[in-house]
Symmetry: C2
Subunit: 328 residues, 2 copies
C-alpha cells in the first residue's frame, strides 16, 4: 500500500511535504514514495537525519508551479512530479496519490493518465467542512464550472460512497445546495437535479440552503463546481476575516491582551478546527484511481492528514464502489 | 420625505419595528409612516408612552407572514402592509419603503406595484458585507436564480450607482465574482459577462474569487442571484458557527470564563460588526422606487439603520441615476 506523494507541490514544498511524510510514517506506519528531484528530496530527508526506511524516493526531474497553466504544464512537462506519481497509480505501483500542488494540474494529469471511471461523466472535487464530528463533504468545489443535471446526480452518488467508506458515516444524508427549501425553488437546473436526486439510489434529504450547511443536517452537500468553489472560498475568507478582527480586538487594550493570553489555547484550538488542513486532504472523485488533494498552504500536519485520508480511501474499496455505481 | 415602514414585517414585528421607528425619529429626525393594523401599532406606540409626532399610522388590515408563498400572498392579500406601503411609494406619498418582512413578498409587491425602471431587465437584491469601512455591496443575492449576461451588466451599473450615491464610495471598483482571476476562467456565462463588463461604463477591476471578497479589493461584487444567495448565506452560517464555537471554548474552563468576562466588550463589538443588522438594510435595485429590505431578524437598531439607508437612498438621486443608466 505504497502512497505516491508529490514532494514538489504546495506553498511549503518540499520542506513541509517531506516532514509530513515522516510524520505519517512514524505515526501511522504508512509507506510513502516521495516523488520529485532526487537530490532535493534526499537533502531534505538528510536535514531530518533520516536514512529512509518506509520512505523511498522516486525521481522526477520537473515540478509544476502553483501558478502555471494546468493543462499546458501537464502536457509539456511529462517528467513533472505530478505526472510521474500519477503514472505510478496507473501502473498499480502506488495505491494512491497525494499532492498539495497546483489543483488544476493534478486534475488534468489525473484525467490524462488515469482517465475517468467508466460511465462517470465528470470527476468532482470534494472538500470537507469542519462543521460536524465527521465533517461535511461538499462537492463539486471547482472541477466543473459548467454542469449538466446528470453530473450532479453522479456527484451525489460518489459523495455518498466517499462519506460512507472513507469518512465512516452510515447511510450518509445527501442534500442539494439550493436557495430555498422546497423542490420548486432555485434555478431551473437545480429544480431538475432535485427531481433526479429524489429518484436516485441514495439517502436524499432534499434541498439545503447556504445558511444550513454548518448545522449538520446533511453529511454530503452536492452542488456545481462554480457555486461550490465560491461557497468554500467565501467561507474561508470570512473565517480569516473574523480571526483577523479577533486578533485586532484582543490586542487593542492591555487588559484584553492579558485576558487573551489566558485564552490563547482555546482560541488556537478553534482556529485549528476551522483550518482546512485539519482534514488534510480532499478527494478527486470519478477518476480511475485514488487521488487526494491537500490544501496549497499545507504544513507537515496537513500532509500527514492527507496521507491518512489517501490510505483510508485506498483500503476502503471506495474506487470499486464508484466503478459499480456506473454499472447500475 | 416620509418613509413607509412595514410594521408587520420581520421575526420581531411589531415590537422591534416600532421601537426602531422611534429610534430613527429621535436620532435622525426621520418622518415615518408605520403601516399595518392601526390598533396593534397604536398599542405598541402606547407601550413607549408616545403620542406620536413625526410618526403616523397608515392602516393596513392584513400582514404577510415570513413563510407565506410570496407571489400568492401579495396577490391575495391586497390590503397587506407591504402592498399598502408600496402603494404609498408609487403615489409619491412616501419617498421610500422599508420592510424586514418576507423578502420574496417585498420583491413581488415591488414588481407588481412599482414595476421595473424602464430599460432595466431585472431587479437585483444587494447586500452589504462588513469587510471594509463603507462595506462591500454584493448583488444579486437572490432575486434572480437564472440570469442572462446582460442582467449582470445592469447589476454592475446599478451597484456602482448605489455604492457611489448611497455608500459614499467615489468611483466604486466593481468586480465579477468568479472562480479564477483571468478572463478565461469560470463558467461560460461568467466569461461572457467578463467581456461585457470590460466594455461597460463602470470602474471594472476584473474577476474576484470567493476568498478575496473580504480583503476590500472591490466595492461592488457582481454575481447571479443563485451564487450570491449561497455565498451570503454560507458566510452567515460560518460566522454563526465560529461565534458559537468561540462561546463554547471560552466557557469550557473556569479560568477561560474569567478571561472571557474581561474580553466580553471586544467580543460583542466584533459580533456586532459581523451582524447583518449593522448595515441595517439592503437595496432592491431596478424597481421604480426606493425599496430597502432589512434582515428578518432585525431588532430596533437594525430597523433604525435600515430607515437611515432608505433616507440616504431617497435623497441621493440614486433612482434618477438608475433611470438614466437605461437611457444610455
Amino acid at each position: 500500500m505504497l502512497i505516491a506523494l508529490d514532494a514538489m507541490g504546495g506553498d511549503h514544498a518540499p520542506a513541509e511535504i517531506v516532514a509530513g511524510a515522516l510524520l505519517a510514517r512514524n505515526e501511522l506506519g504508512i509507506e510513502i514514495a516521495l516523488v520529485g528531484p532526487r537530490e532535493i528530496i534526499a537533502a531534505e530527508l538528510a536535514r531530518h537525519g533520516e536514512t529512509p526506511t518506509g520512505i523511498e524516493i522516486i525521481h522526477a526531474s520537473e515540478a509544476i508551479a502553483m501558478d502555471e497553466h494546468p493543462a499546458q504544464a501537464v502536457r509539456s512537462k511529462r517528467d513533472a512530479s505530478i505526472n510521474v506519481a500519477m503514472g505510478m497509480v496507473k501502473r498499480g505501483v502506488a495505491s494512491s496519490f497525494v499532492s498539495a500542488g497546483n489543483t488544476g494540474a493534478v486534475m488534468a494529469s489525473a484525467l490524462m493518465t488515469l482517465g475517468r471511471v467508466h460511465g462517470i461523466e465528470r470527476p468532482a472535487l470534494g472538500t470537507i467542512a469542519p462543521y460536524t464530528e465527521t465533517g461535511v463533504l461538499v462537492l463539486d468545489v471547482g472541477a466543473n464550472a459548467d454542469v449538466k443535471p446528470n453530473y450532479l446526480v453522479q456527484f451525489a452518488q460518489m459523495g455518498s460512497v466517499y462519506a460512507e467508506r472513507v469518512m465512516g458515516v452510515r447511510n450518509p444524508r445527501v442534500a442539494l445546495l439550493n436557495i430555498g427549501g422546497e423542490e420548486t425553488k432555485g434555478s431551473e437546473l437545480m429544480q431538475d437535479v432535485h427531481g433526479r436526486l429524489s429518484k436516485a439510489n441514495i439517502n436524499f434529504v432534499g434541498n439545503i440552503e447556504g445558511g444550513e450547511v454548518h448545522n449538520g443536517r446533511a453529511d454530503v452537500v452536492v452542488t456545481d463546481g462554480f457555486t461550490g468553489n465560491v461557497a468554500v472560498k467565501v467561507t474561508e475568507g470570512a473565517a480569516d476575516f473574523i480571526f483577523h478582527e479577533l486578533r485586532g480586538a484582543l490586542t487593542s487594550k492591555l487588559r484584553y491582551k492579558l485576558a487573551a493570553l489566558v485564552l490563547k489555547p482555546a482560541l488556537l484550538q478553534l482556529r485549528e478546527k476551522m483550518d482546512p488542513g485539519t482534514y488534510g486532504g480532499v478527494p478527486l472523485l470519478g477518476v480511475n484511481g485514488v487521488v487526494i488533494i491537500a490544501h496549497g498552504a499545507s504544513d507537515a500536519r496537513a500532509v500527514r492528514n492527507a496521507l491518512h485520508a489517501a490510505n483510508e480511501a485506498a483500503s476502503s474499496g471506495m474506487l470499486d464502489a464508484i466503478r459499480s455505481l456506473a454499472k447500475r
